[in-house]
């Protein structure tokens, strides 16, 4: 049989394709392994610390024993507060940018600014929060200051996600509504936003995880080193999970002895973030029913 040049090139192409896919598979595998390693490590080191008592009591004996209940509650308040602040403002901002603003230089600059903000280190937000919310607005170190600072931190994420989701709403839906003699504002609020909401939530989930996990922004604005009592108003300081880990791991007198507590706290934080995400995913699924187009 004579050499068939077509065959040869074909075979060569298959080979390069196989190598390409193999590389991709390896990359995915690697990421999977790293994730598994991190969670496995945290779980293996932390699960022994977890008990009902750990979850429901405050720390005791100079934070070398006891639980982390105030930190769980604090992180929960801070995260919910941050989202409650950033979601409406972020969505309003995205609506303005996509539906109302004349697309031009100004809007382009604004977008660049928002993207820059998303890349600013979180400690910068922490200092901003300290200067603006804590000192200037006299909110003090409090849930309010911390939630606002975290809100500012996740605002760019939410704006970008909301913009994407709003842009993904088919233009034909807007046309259909406007052609019925419905005003632009009502078209946006009754058709565009409800349609975009699942997408907006998807993007916001990233923000939620970030807000729950950040330490630097709350260090100066909300987090207490230790407080056994639960907050009674938004002007109270709170403990927070990430800051608690930081404190136990760096500032205590018994850093080594409290390792199990540290891992336990990290495990709870990871579970909390996963739980909030799961909740958001469930709402999104619920809202998407019958809304495929």
């Amino acid at each position: 049989m004579t050499a068939d040049p077509f065959r040869i090139t074909l075979r060569r192409r298959y080979r390069s394709e196989r190598i390409f896919f193999l590389t991709l598979r390896l990359a995915v595998l690697l990421i999977g392994l790293v994730m598994l390693a991190i969670f496995g490590y945290i779980f293996a080191n932390g699960y022994r610390a977890i008990s009902w008592e750990f979850l429901t009591t405050p720390p005791s004996d100079s934070m070398t024993k006891g639980g982390i209940m105030p930190a769980i509650v604090g992180t929960f308040y801070l995260t919910v507060g941050a989202v409650a602040f950033a979601l409406p403002i972020g969505v309003a901002c995205a609506v303005y940018l996509t539906e109302y603003a004349r697309q031009g230089t100004f809007v382009r600059l604004l977008r660049i600014g928002i993207n820059c903000l998303a890349g600013v280190p979180s400690v910068v937000f922490g200092l901003f929060g300290l200067g603006f919310f804590v000192v200037f607005l006299k909110f003090g170190s409090s849930i309010l200051s911390g939630a606002l600072t975290l809100g500012a931190l996740i605002l760019p994420t939410i704006i970008t996600a909301a913009e994407e989701a709003i842009k993904a709403v088919p233009q034909t839906f807007r046309e259909a509504s406007l052609a019925l003699g419905v005003s632009k504002w009502r078209t946006v609020s009754r058709i565009v936003l409800p349609t975009a909401l699942p997408g907006i939530l998807t993007g916001s989930i990233l923000g939620i995880g970030r807000a729950a996990g950040e330490t630097a922004p709350i260090m100066f604005t909300a987090a207490a080193f230790f407080t056994a009592r639960l907050p009674s108003s938004i002007f109270d300081e709170v403990m927070a999970l990430p800051y608690h880990v930081y404190v136990l791991a760096t500032a205590g007198t018994a850093i080594e002895e409290t390792r199990p507590l540290q891992y336990g706290t990290v495990l709870v934080l990871a579970a909390l973030v996963a739980g909030i995400n799961l909740f958001a995913v469930l709402i999104r699924g619920y809202m998407r029913r019958g809304k495929r187009w």
Binding site: A176, V182, K291
Partner: protein, 253 residues
Amino acid sequence: MENTLIITVENCNFYYGTYRALTDVTMGFERNRVTALIGPSGCGKSTLLRLLNRMNDLIDNTRVEGRIFFEGTDIYGKEVDPVEIRRRIGMVFQKPNPFPKSIYNNITYGPRLMGVKKKSDLEALVEESLKQAVLWDEVKDILGRSAMTLSGGQQQRLCIARALAMKPDVLLMDEPTSALDPISTAKIEELIEALKKELTIIIVTHNMQQAARISDRTGFFYLGRLIEYDDTAKIFTNPQVKQTEDYITGRFG
């Protein structure tokens, strides 16, 4: 003569940026008649249709010259609210575009925002509109189901019902059957015939048989100009302009 015309277009030019899509169009649309706009694609039929209910306002960087009167009001006048114009001049698009809501809510969406609140009123409106759109029998038991589950032809009739629920005086239809099968097309042609007792219909169509079947008046457009405008029977049997004759006999386009 005057009051038989519900819409009159006078010396209209329309520009997308610097591109002139319509040149010196002058024509009147008769009340309770079906007027068909035909012509090769890109000749400006949709542009004219969207001028009549100010949908072109939504496109940036466009310009209208000339005047368009609807019931004697210049619809591009300063004091005119385009939202009100669009309520009175409804529109059905080429591709069915129901909302991702239930069949019932698709129809009540507009009327609710207009202030219709009573459940019995809304239900009556839904039934009436769906009957007008020849869809009632097919969907009366599944009004709560998502409109997205309907077939293309049903979706288009739902869009017609949705437009009719606003009680418009004029219904603009931009190639409403071009994406549909023959049976759905026949149903829509049938409902157009019945509807003209109650309102004025202006329909863009690619399909010359359709124009001949359903319309009373036909306007032929070419390169942004209205070439010939006359009774449909005359346009199709005895066109006065050679370009019209070439087009309807299929010699170009």
